[in-house]
Each structure stands twice: as structure tokens, then as C-alpha cells.
């Protein structure tokens, strides 16, 4: 049964090539035309197609991938598959007949689920930057998943708001439960938002598996607000998110402050609390049973290559795993990551996720 898919794709590719030749592509686009056709080494058209599955935060200029296509002769088709959780679960559900060849966007909270379910084939790019070792996973997951980028989910504060009131902003997670900061904090929900879940993990890492529940009780008693997603928390409830909100403390990223530099000024009006950060690492891998494993491997090589790594901060707001890659100047100055982020063992996350989210939902529902 597996053979029919490439044949179907081949037919599609041949059709596309024919359309390109006659210059009458239905979509009127010109992107598809570049690298279809029979490659110089005589391989068939279908072998040159690589399907990359991504989460819905994928946001990359097409020209970056075109560099890869021109270099290798592969044609990349990108398919969005929901958030990191949906993406991982779809991979698990379609393990017998994968949706594509490679995946990007499984994060460290879903990594061991993907590995445990056997949806990935082992592969590690030969030219993996040395700094990537800091983000490597243990065991089987480590052989199958290549770190590509990372970001720090941290509590942000509106410094201008606190300065206006001559109040010192909070610094730690413990401060957030302090009555001095009553009714000032908003976070996206751990059940529906990936940064929200990262914050829950930060509290688990900080207060331990048996202590975080008590912390959340105190946090909610102190008037914390739970919003559905990052967009709402930041753009509606946060005082510095443009929405005239009433919460000067928000859960966001260490890379958020540069976006609050007022026009014509040089300093952001907000800052990230670097003692509250949970590090999210995003991985890529080759899918087990991929139609085009060589193409997928080659694509993985490209994801850790400088060209791709350099495009990451500006297009997806994450830090490249390659520490040698220069960051945009504003990031260098105002988007400092945590020196000692809070950590939780990925295997523990996989084992406890449901339990933690359910408990968290009960604690915050009051």
C-alpha cells in the first residue's frame, strides 16, 4: 500500500512540472517551478520531494528554504499541523503511514512522547554545532531529535508602571504570590497554551512535584488571572501590550522586551525576570518510515546550518542552538536569556503531563 503514495506524488509532480513548462500554473505562483523535474543524477522527481511537518508557529521567509532547494535540488513542501501538542499527537496517530519525511517543532515537553511512541528514526547531523550539546536529550530521544532552537518563557514586568508608582517590580516566582503584587499578574492557561504550560513547569521545577500545587493556590489567592493564550494575556490584560490592560506582570518570553521600545527611544519599557524562566527547546527529526529519508536527513542538516539558524530570531523569535550565530543587535542588548533556567526532566513531563494539567485546572478553576 505504501507504494501508491509516491506514485501519486510523482504524478502530481510531473503534472506540476508540465504546468511549469507550459508556464500556466493554476496558482499563478512561480515558487513551485524552481526545482521540479529530473535531477542531474538521474533520480526521479518524487525522490526530490521532501515534506516537512511543522507546528503553527512556523513563520519563515520562503527564500530561506529556497537556498536549501537550490543547493540540494530537493523541493520542500511545508505542512502545518497545529500546535506542538497536536503535531506530536498526529505523528503518533499516523506512525504506520507518516504524513511526511521530517518534522520540526517537537519541544522538550513532548520530546519523549514522540520517542517513546517510535515515530522517529535515529539521525544526527554531522555538522551539528558544538553548542547544540547543551540542549541534547538523553537516551533514545537524543539519537532521534536534533535541537534547532530554544526560547526562555519568563515572567515579564512593565517597568514603567512600577516606576510610576515608586514600587519595586517583583523578581522571583515567590514574589508573585506576595500580597504586595496582588491582582497584578496574568498568565496564559497551562491547558491551552504552550508558554502557559512552560510556566506551570517552571513552578514544578522550582517548588518540586509536591510543592507546586500549594504555590498555585497561593498565586490564585493573590489574584492571578488566567487567560486563554499568550495573545490575550499580553495584548488585552498586560498594561504594556497596547490593550490598556490592568496587569503589569505577564507571562511572556525573554525576547519580548525589545518589542516595547517606544518609537524614537532606545530602551524598552518592560523587562523579563530571568529567575522565573523555563527553557523551551525545539527539535527536528526524521520520521520513521519516511518516503524520502535521505531528503529528510539533508533537510535536518540544513536546519542546524548557519543560513537557517540566522533566520530564526527575526522570523520565529527564538534563539538559535548554534551559539556562534550572531543575534540581531536589539536582541544582544535587550533580550538576554536566563543564565540558570528552571529545568524539569522531559521524561517526567511525559509521564506526568495529564496529571499536572488536570490538577492545575482544578486549582485555577476556583
Amino acid at each position: 500500500m505504501k507504494h501508491a503514495r509516491p506514485r501519486w506524488r510523482a504524478a502530481a509532480a510531473v503534472t506540476a512540472a508540465a504546468l511549469a513548462l507550459t508556464a500556466c500554473s493554476i496558482t499563478g505562483g512561480s515558487e513551485q517551478e524552481t526545482t521540479t523535474g529530473t535531477a542531474a543524477d538521474g533520480s526521479t522527481v518524487a525522490d526530490r520531494d521532501v515534506t516537512l511537518l511543522v507546528h503553527d508557529s512556523w513563520y519563515l521567509p520562503r527564500k530561506v528554504l529556497r537556498a536549501f532547494e537550490e543547493e540540494t535540488g530537493y523541493r520542500v513542501e511545508v505542512q502545518t499541523n497545529g500546535d506542538a501538542g497536536s503535531l506530536t499527537n498526529k505523528l503518533v496517530l499516523t506512525a504506520d503511514n507518516p504524513l511526511g519525511d521530517a518534522v520540526f517543532g517537537i519541544d522538550n515537553t513532548f520530546a519523549t512522547r514522540a520517542a517513546d511512541e517510535g515515530v522517529l528514526a535515529p539521525y544526527t547531523p554531522a555538522d551539528l554545532p558544538a553548542s547544540a550539546a547543551d540542549y541534547a536529550l538523553d537516551g533514545e530521544a537524543g539519537e532521534q531529535l536534533t535541537p534547532v532552537d530554544w526560547g526562555d518563557v519568563c515572567v515579564n514586568v512593565d517597568d514603567a508602571w512600577f516606576a510610576e508608582r515608586d514600587q519595586a517590580p517583583p523578581r522571583t516566582l515567590a514574589d508573585l504570590a506576595d500580597p504586595a503584587y496582588r491582582d497584578l499578574f496574568v498568565t496564559p492557561a497551562a491547558s491551552t497554551s504552550s508558554p502557559g504550560f512552560a510556566f506551570l513547569l517552571a513552578t514544578v521545577g522550582e517548588y518540586g512535584e509536591d510543592g507546586w500545587q500549594d504555590y498555585w493556590t497561593r498565586l490564585m489567592d493573590n489574584g492571578a488571572r488566567v487567560a486563554k493564550d499568550w495573545t490575550e494575556a499580553y495584548t488585552v490584560d498586560f498594561t504594556a501590550g497596547g490593550g490598556d490592560g490592568d496587569r503589569p506582570i505577564v507571562l511572556s518570553y525573554s525576547s519580548s522586551p525589545p518589542f516595547t521600545i517606544p518609537k524614537g527611544e532606545e530602551r524598552p519599557t518592560t523587562s523579563a525576570l530571568l529567575e522565573t524562566c523555563f527553557r523551551q527547546v525545539e527539535y527536528a527529526g526524521v520520521l520513521a518510515g519516511a518516503d524520502n529519508p535521505e531528503g529528510a536527513q539533508s533537510l535536518l542538516d540544513f536546519l542546524v546550518d548557519r543560513t537557517f539558524q540566522k533566520a530564526l530570531p527575526d522570523s520565529m523569535y527564538v534563539y538559535p542552538v548554534d551559539a556562534e550565530t550572531p543575534l540581531p543587535p536589539l536582541w544582544e542588548e535587550w533580550a538576554e536569556p536566563a543564565t540558570d533556567p528552571i529545568e524539569v526532566d522531559p521524561a517526567e513531563v511525559t509521564a506526568q503531563r495529564d496529571e499536572w494539567i488536570r490538577t492545575w485546572s482544578d486549582l485555577t478553576a476556583g
Binding site: 512556523w58 490592568d246 495529564d354
Partner: protein, 558 residues
């Protein structure tokens, strides 16, 4: 049972064959793209390690949480449906039967919420309701009242656009006669108008209820984590926990509830009734009397409910660096802000329009076939039941979790000849399946309202089935058909679930692009997302207004 409509008339056997053949097309589409995925996903949940695990499923359903979730889903949807009808019906009357300045504009306005991405609606409602917002004093943020308000906001257009055209083409002579015989306006409404409206009220009410029961973005946004519906539970169980058994259990529960609802609605439908005296829509008359005044007052409430959140969106799209500016709108034609992305908002709008056109053609084509088939009078009781089941089958997509069907598409349609995963036309097909029930529900009451004797007369005069369709059914159903097409178009433009699921990052639809932009940091992305949402809303309203003006030759005339 002396009514003339109760007399069954036989369908000629040739017609029966044609009918059965015609039924196969929509049947095949719904089986392949809805039933098979749904069953595939439920099967994955029920069968554990190759063994049917009914006990486990029942245990999942018996959890105390499930009862609470089901109860909340039912009552919030019921309340929202009731409020939507209470506001929507007088509004439909005012906007379709009265001569009001700007009623065409208002008809377009009430449709806009229907296509706005829930993430935008969430921001709009929360901007108004959050403690710092203009309506923060009401204390509605995070309460069931906010959820209900948002559900009503979304669904008002369903009621107005279904009931309005129907009402406009009711023959006013009956009402006038009743009034002349001394009936008070209330008596006229209760004894003449309401019975004539009943079929379409049931249609609209069931559609709205199903939309409410499966809405999940709105519930998550406005209810926070405090309130769960069956749909939000399925979403969490499937996308976060991968607890397929519990998700399957809830999906089955959804199907049961929908079927029960449809049976109830079928029972409430007066037997054999439905034939309605029609007239060419009279030009609206000037409002007079307290009935009209009440309708106008209700319409004002409707317009306020719709306009306030929309104004919140427009206002925030115009705020740039604490000043008013059109900058976000100017950037709509450029590539997305702050990034060299090649898709401009206008390109995405073009993609949306193309997809919506495909989806509309598909939904209307299939919908006409289904509606004609289920409204033909059939003598054979068994066949009649089959037709009723056929009718109900096409309502199911509205009431069953999009997450389940979406994941099911991947699980079930993965082997040739049904390997449709990743196929580009999965998007219009998925959208058409959502729009199809609306098309059917908009057309069926009208077609039922055609007096069977007209068809018989035409047949006696030698007209074939197609000729009858063209000369008898189409002239009557034309308005409803336009309304249905408008619906399908709006559904497709606003559809997000299936689209985001299957979309290509290189050519996103407008709603997918809005979702992407609004989740990115920076005021520029956010503002552009809202400007794009305003564009999406205006585009929809504009297209629907244009469609309303369509007339094909004499067909628009009765």
C-alpha cells in the same frame, strides 16, 4: 388530517431511480469525508490492543466530570440559542419586512461576526469586558454570561439570514385578513405568522444550537479554565493528552445528543404542514404600531451587541503608537510586517476568496440535491424514514467535534484510493461539509412550502422533473438559495479549524494569516492582524450584499 398536503402522491419509478442516483453523490462525500474519519477515530479509542474496550469507555463516561461538562454544554447552548432567537427573530422582521434606512447595511453588519476568527472575537470581547475595559464594570469577564454573549454574537446572523428571507416572502394577505376580522396584532402573530414561521424557526434554532454546542474557541477564551464543554474536553483530550478512549467516548456522546436533538426537532415539525402562501416580497412598509416599535427596539439591542465588539476591533486596528493612524491598513498590501514573508494580507485574501468560491459551489451543489430529495413527497413509509435519516445525516457535521473529524481524516483516509491527506482540495471539501447543513436547512423549509399541487399540475401538463424544478421550485426557493450560498461563502471565509489544519504556510487563507499574525510579538503584527480582520469582515459583508442584489432574469420575481 383533512389537510390537502397529507395526501401522499406517488413518485414515478423513473423519478425514484433518478432520486436514488442523485442521492449517491452527496452520500459518498459525507461518508468519505465525515463518517469514515469519525468512525476511524472512535475506533482508535474503543479498540485497545486489538480488543474492544467498551467497559473502559463506559467508565470514562461515568466520570463525574463528564456529567458536569455535558450539563454545562447543554444549558449554555440552550440559553444562547434562546437569546439568539429572541433577538434574531424581531431583527429579521425589522431588517427584512420594514422600510428602514440602512437596512441592507445592517443586514451585512450582523453577518460579520460569523466570519471573524475566534481569536479576534476573543480579543474584542475581552478588550470590552476585562476589568480595565469600557464594559469592565459589568463584571462579566470570565463568566458564563460572557460565553453566552459571544455565542449569541456569532449566531445572530444565522437567525437573521434564515428567518428574514422566509418572512419577507410570506403572503401578507393572510395577516391582513386576520386583522380585518378583528384579531389584535398579538393574535395575528400567534395564530397566523408564528405557525407560518415555525419550520424556519426550528431549522435556524437547531443550527444555532449545534453551533453553540460545538463552539470551543469562544468558550476557552471567555470562560477561562473554569468552564468546559464537551467540545473543549475533546480538544484537550485529543491534542494534549492523547487520551483517545475518553475523546472517543465524548464524540459518541455528541453524536447521540445530536441525533436526539434532531429527533426532537423532527417531532416538533407539524406533520404534513409547511405549505405556505407566498407572495413576491412586498416593499418594506414604514414601521407603525407597538409591534414594530418592539421589533425596532430589539434590533437596536442586536446591532449594539454586534457593533460594540466590532468597534473594539476597528478601534484597536487604528491605534498606532498611541495615536490614530491608517498605517496598519496601508501595510495590508505589503508582505507581513517585520518579516520578509512573501504572503501579503491581500494575497491571503485572494486565497480565501478562491477557496470560498470552490467551497460554496460544492456546498450549494450538494445542498440543492439533498434538499430537493428530502422535500419530495414519498408514499412508501420505509423510504420516507430513509429520507428522514438521510436529511439528519447532513446535520451531523455541525454537531460533532471538528477535532475528532480532523484527526480522523489523517487516521482513516491514509490508504489509496482514499489517501486524501495533504490534498489541496481537502480544504474546500472540509469547509463545504460545515456549510452543507446550513444550505440544507435554509432550503428545506422553502421547498417544503411549495404546494405539491403546483408540481402535479406541471407534471400533468407534461413537464419533466428538471423542468418542474426550474419552473416551480426554483422561483420560490431563489431567495433562500441566495441566502444559502451567502452562508456557505461566509462559513468558508471564516472557517478556521479545518483550514489551519490543512493549510500551506506558503499560501495561507486570511483567517489562518490573522491567527499567525496575532500570536506574534510586537504591536505591528497585532495591529495588522486586526486590520486584516476588519478587511475580512468588510469583504464578507460586501460579498453578501452584492449577492442579495442578484437576480437571474425573471427568477427573482414570483
Amino acid at each position: 388530517m383533512t389537510s390537502r398536503q397529507a395526501r401522499p402522491t406517488g413518485v414515478p419509478s423513473a423519478g425514484l431511480v433518478v432520486g436514488l442516483l442523485a442521492a449517491l453523490v452527496p452520500l459518498a462525500v459525507i461518508v468519505v469525508f465525515f463518517v469514515v474519519p469519525l468512525v476511524g477515530m472512535v475506533q482508535r479509542g474503543f479498540v485497545v490492543d486489538g480488543r474492544l474496550d467498551v467497559g473502559g469507555v463506559l467508565a470514562d463516561l461515568a466520570r463525574p466530570r463528564v456529567a458536569g461538562v455535558l450539563w454545562f454544554t447543554l444549558w449554555s447552548s440552550a440559553v444562547a440559542t434562546a437569546v439568539t432567537l429572541l433577538l434574531g427573530v424581531p431583527t429579521a422582521y425589522a431588517l427584512h419586512r420594514l422600510d428602514l434606512p440602512g437596512s441592507a447595511f445592517l443586514r451585512g453588519l450582523v453577518t460579520v461576526p460569523f466570519v471573524l476568527p475566534t481569536v479576534v472575537v476573543g480579543v474584542a470581547f475581552r478588550t470590552l469586558l476585562s476589568s480595565g475595559g469600557p464594559l469592565g464594570g459589568l463584571g462579566g469577564d470570565g463568566t458564563p454570561a460572557a460565553i453566552v454573549a459571544a455565542l449569541v454574537f456569532f449566531n445572530l446572523s444565522v437567525v437573521v439570514r434564515m428567518v428574514g428571507p422566509w418572512w419577507a416572502s410570506l403572503d401578507p394577505q393572510r395577516e391582513q385578513a386576520a386583522a380585518a376580522l378583528g384579531a389584535s396584532p398579538a393574535q395575528v402573530f400567534r395564530t397566523v405568522t408564528l405557525p407560518a414561521l415555525r419550520p424556519v424557526l426550528l431549522s435556524a434554532g437547531s443550527v444555532v444550537f449545534l453551533f453553540c454546542a460545538t463552539a470551543f474557541g469562544v468558550v476557552l477564551t471567555l470562560g477561562g479554565t473554569r468552564y468546559s464543554t464537551v467540545e473543549t474536553e475533546i480538544y484537550l483530550l485529543t491534542t494534549q493528552f492523547l487520551d483517545l478512549r475518553a475523546a472517543a467516548a465524548l464524540s459518541v456522546l455528541q453524536v447521540l445528543v445530536v441525533v436526539a436533538l434532531l429527533l426532537l426537532a423532527g417531532r416538533a415539525q407539524p406533520r404534513g404542514a409547511g405549505v405556505v402562501d407566498r407572495a413576491a416580497p412586498a416593499p418594506g412598509r414604514r414601521p407603525r404600531g407597538w409591534v414594530d416599535l418592539t421589533a425596532l427596539a430589539t434590533t437596536a439591542v442586536t446591532v449594539a451587541l454586534v457593533a460594540l465588539p466590532l468597534l473594539a476591533v476597528v478601534a484597536r486596528s487604528l491605534r498606532v503608537d498611541d495615536a490614530w493612524s491608517l498605517a496598519r491598513y496601508r501595510s495590508l498590501s505589503e508582505s507581513a510586517p517585520g518579516s520578509p514573508l512573501r504572503t501579503s494580507v491581500l494575497d491571503a485574501a485572494a486565497t480565501s476568496l478562491r477557496t470560498a468560491t470552490d467551497a460554496t459551489l460544492l456546498a450549494v451543489g450538494l445542498g440543492v440535491v439533498v434538499s430537493v430529495l428530502v422535500t419530495r413527497r414519498i408514499a412508501h413509509p420505509g423510504l420516507r424514514r430513509a429520507v428522514r435519516a438521510f436529511d439528519g445525516l447532513f446535520m451531523l457535521p455541525l454537531g460533532v467535534s471538528a477535532v475528532t473529524v480532523g484527526f480522523g481524516l489523517l487516521v482513516a483516509l491514509d490508504t489509496p484510493p482514499l489517501d486524501f491527506r495533504g490534498s489541496p482540495w481537502l480544504v474546500p471539501v472540509a469547509q463545504a461539509l460545515v456549510a452543507l447543513p446550513l444550505v440544507v436547512r435554509a432550503l428545506v423549509p422553502t421547498l417544503r412550502g411549495v404546494d405539491e399541487r403546483q408540481r402535479e399540475a406541471a407534471a400533468t401538463l407534461g413537464a419533466g422533473p428538471l423542468r418542474i424544478l426550474r419552473d416551480v421550485d426554483l422561483p420560490t426557493a431563489w431567495r433562500s438559495l441566495l441566502a444559502a450560498a451567502g452562508f456557505a461563502f461566509a462559513v468558508s471565509l471564516g472557517e478556521f479549524g479545518a483550514t489551519s489544519f490543512l493549510s500551506r504556510p506558503d499560501s495561507p487563507t486570511l483567517s489562518v494569516l490573522i491567527y499567525q499574525l496575532i500570536g506574534r510579538p510586537g504591536a505591528e503584527s497585532f495591529g495588522t492582524a486586526l486590520a486584516a480582520a476588519v478587511l475580512l469582515g468588510s469583504l464578507t459583508a460586501g460579498v453578501l450584499l452584492a449577492v442579495e442584489r442578484l437576480r437571474v432574469g425573471r427568477l427573482g420575481v414570483y
